[in-house]
Amino acid sequence: MKDRGKQLEEQAKELFDESVEKLDAATLSRLNQGRHKALEELHRPGVVKWHGPLWGAPAAGVFAVAVVAAIVMRGPASVDAIDDPVTASDFEMLLEADSLEMLEDLEFYSLLDAVDAETNGNVG
């Protein structure tokens, strides 16, 4: 009789392999594109390149200052709603190129909040 752990391992592997085999054509196509994109890297000169837009770094700086200022001036939305304070490392992460889109969202949300406040006559 097989050990229960071994049996589970075999069954898990079998199921996983089956799910890999059943990936749909659209997904396989995207994987293919990704692989070719990766292989293109081999033909590029070996220099460290900035792949993001040129305005990315200054824009990230401006957004970060705006976010910090907004949080300092406003404080948390609800004391009960938050477990941990936002830390410096959180902002470092937000400054990564991938997070620019999220920072743009934040600006939009703060604009919405300002419009809300004005509409409800809570400003001043």
Partner: protein
Amino acid sequence: MESYRMSAYAGVFAVSCTREQSTGAAALQRERQLNQFLLEVERRALRIAEISVRDRDEALDLVQDAMIKLARNYAERPDGEWAPLFYRILQNGVRDWHRRQKVRNRVMVWFGRGATAEDDYDVAANAPDPAGRTPEAELQTGEAMQRLEVSVHELPNRQREAFMLRMFEGLDVAGTAVAMGCSEGSVKTHYSRAVHTLRDKLGDHWQ
């Protein structure tokens, strides 16, 4: 004298051409090897990333990033080292993804966007099929795989990594240790705990 110089130039030119040809051939061979490696690994890598983040589009992005970083930074390394390096890059990507999600949620709370019931609703966790497959594909994959995916996803991060790298990808203990950035002893411990937990969770369904 002139003929000697001409033949010397011709010799240098020939040597130079031969060297370029051999460098070009080696580069082409390298590209083929890397292509073959990525072709072999990409589908399992996608499913592993998908179980970790429970979103196929995000998983595709993570796998593509890992492939690009491997090609950019480690193409010249011996091909035997590619698998652990690739999975190390991928696991780092998955960890960063989870951290970003956490920070995103936390910052949204600061802006008063995280406290509503609407925002608290975890779409990924509550979706009928977290992988975003069609109903037909979901049926094909079957309930057992769904249960396995959920159970593996719910494991602590390090246990999940150890289990998927050892079991699904088939890396040995040493390769898994490189991919996870920890000792071989830790890999064994994480893996053993993962199997124990999964056996407890799935045991009744899988007898």
